[in-house]
């Protein structure tokens, strides 16, 4: 794994506009950054990232199977007990999942195995730029001889997403999926628009509705803006917020099927990391992790990361190294408690800290996307940097 400097295309913003990539900058700073790319060998991709991702996801599913039947686990994750039935029922029905993103600390073959930092199993973004714009960047580079012939990329996301929507449509018998998110967040809306596009290409209808426009009728069915019952709803709005909202208690009794399904609430919760470690202690792709209330956390010594059970974009994360605070993130999270995880520092290339996001579509790995941060914590200021397979 190497970080290669490469001149950015002077016309990449025009490419982005044509491809519908409207959130390539954030607060005036670039979010898409093609002034560099990461280069992997095929062995690094297949042996160090793809195979471990498959195994980690399978381990996570085994944990869900255990968690939904064990109130003590659900309580440890601070999932409100009114949500337990909905979560349990969705798992017993095997409600299908669409996608998720494992965040891995990986610095190349010589730096040791990839370590799971967390699983964005419920509302992952950075999807469109991984699946489409990164792919277009590679194809454009090949077409203009900026990249050597034979250069490849670990990225079958687009094909897999369309195929997965087709499977979900066939499995549910539903003619379409309604797509919901908070509409005034451009990154969320862009991610959802891309998934609508994939669903349409899979032969499904794909209407959008704002999260706040979701209705609940007197028969306990969730309905769209025209009061039509929603068979299947994709929501880029986290389960912990869904369950905290006024309609949260209606999820279990409704006939609506959700993407991601309620059982994903068990995985998008950092408390899951402590349970995974207890299930598979010493697993090469796991960091030791303990609930903050667990005295065993002392075994981590004076270098660790403290993470809120519920949080996103690196908010409220605290990194302690050799007993001193090395980095910390502000934010509104943490009320539900924390986990303490062994320190799995991100590899640093020319002063940039790189995080590998490893995509799961259905139950299979489908590609990666890398984000770089100036600090040790990957936040919403991170930049997306494309990757290649060149050896």
């Amino acid at each position: 794994m190497r970080r290669l400097a490469c001149p950015e295309r002077p016309d990449w913003r025009a490419h982005a506009a044509r491809a519908g990539f409207h959130f390539h900058s954030f607060d005036g700073a670039p979010y898409w950054d093609e002034s560099a790319c990461y280069a992997f060998t095929l062995a690094e991709i297949e042996d160090d990232l793809e195979a471990p991702s498959r195994e980690l996801h399978a381990l996570c599913l085994a944990f869900v199977a255990r968690a939904v039947e064990d109130g003590a686990i659900l309580a440890s994750l601070k999932i409100p007990d009114h949500a337990w039935d909905a979560i349990r029922a969705s798992w017993r029905r095997r409600d299908p999942s669409l996608y998720g993103r494992l965040d891995l600390s990986y610095g190349g073959r010589d730096a040791g195995p990839a370590k799971l930092l967390e699983y964005n199993a419920d509302t992952p973004t950075a999807l469109y730029e991984s699946a489409v714009f990164q792919w277009l960047w590679l194809e454009d580079g090949l077409a203009r001889n900026r990249l050597p012939a034979g250069t490849d990329q670990f990225n079958s996301l687009h094909e897999r997403l369309i195929a997965r929507f087709a499977e979900i449509g066939a499995a549910t018998g539903s003619p379409g999926v309604a797509f919901a998110c908070v509409p005034d967040a451009p990154e969320d809306r862009g991610t959802v628009a891309y998934l609508q596009d994939c669903a349409l290409q899979a032969g499904l209808s794909a209407p959008f509705l704002p999260v706040e426009a979701i209705g609940l009728d007197s028969d306990g069915r969730f309905v769209d803006e025209a009061a039509r019952p929603i068979d299947t709803m994709f929501k880029l709005y986290p389960w912990e917020w869904m369950f905290a909202d006024a309609f949260g208690r209606a999820v279990g009794a409704s006939s609506t099927r959700f993407l991601e399904p309620p059982w994903k609430a068990v995985l998008s919760n950092k408390g899951m990391l402590a349970h995974l470690w207890a299930m598979a202690p010493g697993h090469p792709n796991l960091l030791p992790a303990f609930f903050e209330e667990d005295p065993a956390k002392a075994s981590l010594g004076t270098s660790f990361v403290k993470k809120p059970l519920y949080a996103r974009e690196g908010a409220n994360v605290l990194i302690v190294r050799d007993g001193a605070v090395a980095a910390s993130g502000d934010g509104p999270y943490g009320a539900e408690g924390f986990v303490r995880q062994g320190l799995g520092l991100l590899p640093c290339f020319h002063g940039r800290h790189a995080l590998v996001g490893s995509w799961i579509v259905g139950d299979a790995p489908a590609g990666i996307g890398l984000r770089e941060s100036d600090g040790m914590i990957t936040t919403d200021r991170a930049r997306f940097v494309p990757h290649v397979i060149d050896g």
């Binding site: 687009h158 499904l204 917020w241 996103r312």
Partner: protein, 222 residues
């Protein structure tokens, strides 16, 4: 970029057969191209079967149109009035009703329509819908103004009608002939439904106002 449908061959065998780790093609049917933005997608619904229907504001309009017989028009209006009282959507508050059906069109206290709707609010029946010909065997349905608050803000309009079961009838500019999706034409509501809204989104707003990211460039995702 290739336009149109891509081949969904994204399984491991296909991947290894072509010797790459990436998608063979990436196509975007909605979000790419000049003028296509992420917004307005809600208007696109692919591959629907449709029925030809007639929409009238009154029996007289039906008679004047001379498409269906006078008896059909009379019976249709009567059937629509019966269905209206029995199945019109019920709202807990006037505000809820107007939020969906629009402030100008008129929502009324349920008791003025039927005693069974005491304490609720109902939209006014502004039209009814029937088949273009008897052979279609379509049910007559009362229609209500369709002007959801979200669409009024987003698109400066809304407009048209909706059925009691929530089917959307796009705006008809004066004429009576409309094509509607088969599921809308054939789905009637048999029991009145009470719809509440706004029950999702509050937690996200609370986190945003406490310093989170929803409402900025980054929202609920991570």
């Amino acid at each position: 970029m290739s336009q149109g449908m891509s081949q969904a061959t994204g399984d491991a065998e296909a991947e290894s057969a072509r010797g790459t780790k990436r998608s063979a093609a990436v196509s975007l049917v909605l979000i790419a191209g000049v003028g296509a933005t992420a917004y307005g997608l809600s208007r696109l619904e692919a591959g629907r079967r449709t029925e030809d229907v007639l929409v009238y504001r009154s029996r007289d309009a039906c008679l004047a149109d001379r498409v269906r017989s006078a008896q059909d028009c009379t019976e249709a209006e009567a059937a629509a009035r019966v269905a209206y009282a029995a199945t019109a959507p019920r709202y807990e508050t006037l505000e809820d009703c107007e939020r969906h059906h629009g402030p100008s069109a008129g929502c009324v206290p349920g008791a003025t329509v039927t005693a069974a709707a005491q304490g609720r609010f109902l939209p006014v029946m502004t039209a009814f819908m029937m088949g273009r010909n008897p052979e279609q065997a379509l049910p007559v349905q009362p229609l209500y103004p369709h002007a959801p608050e979200e669409e009024r803000h987003a698109h400066g309009g809304g407009g048209g009608y909706c059925t009691g079961s929530g089917g959307r009838i796009a705006f008809v500019g004066g004429g009576s002939r409309v094509q509607v999706p088969t599921e809308v034409a054939r789905t009637t509501s048999t029991t009145p439904r009470l719809v509440a809204r706004g029950g999702f989104g509050g937690a996200g707003r609370a986190v945003a106002s406490a310093g989170g990211h929803a409402g900025s460039g980054h929202g609920s995702g991570g």
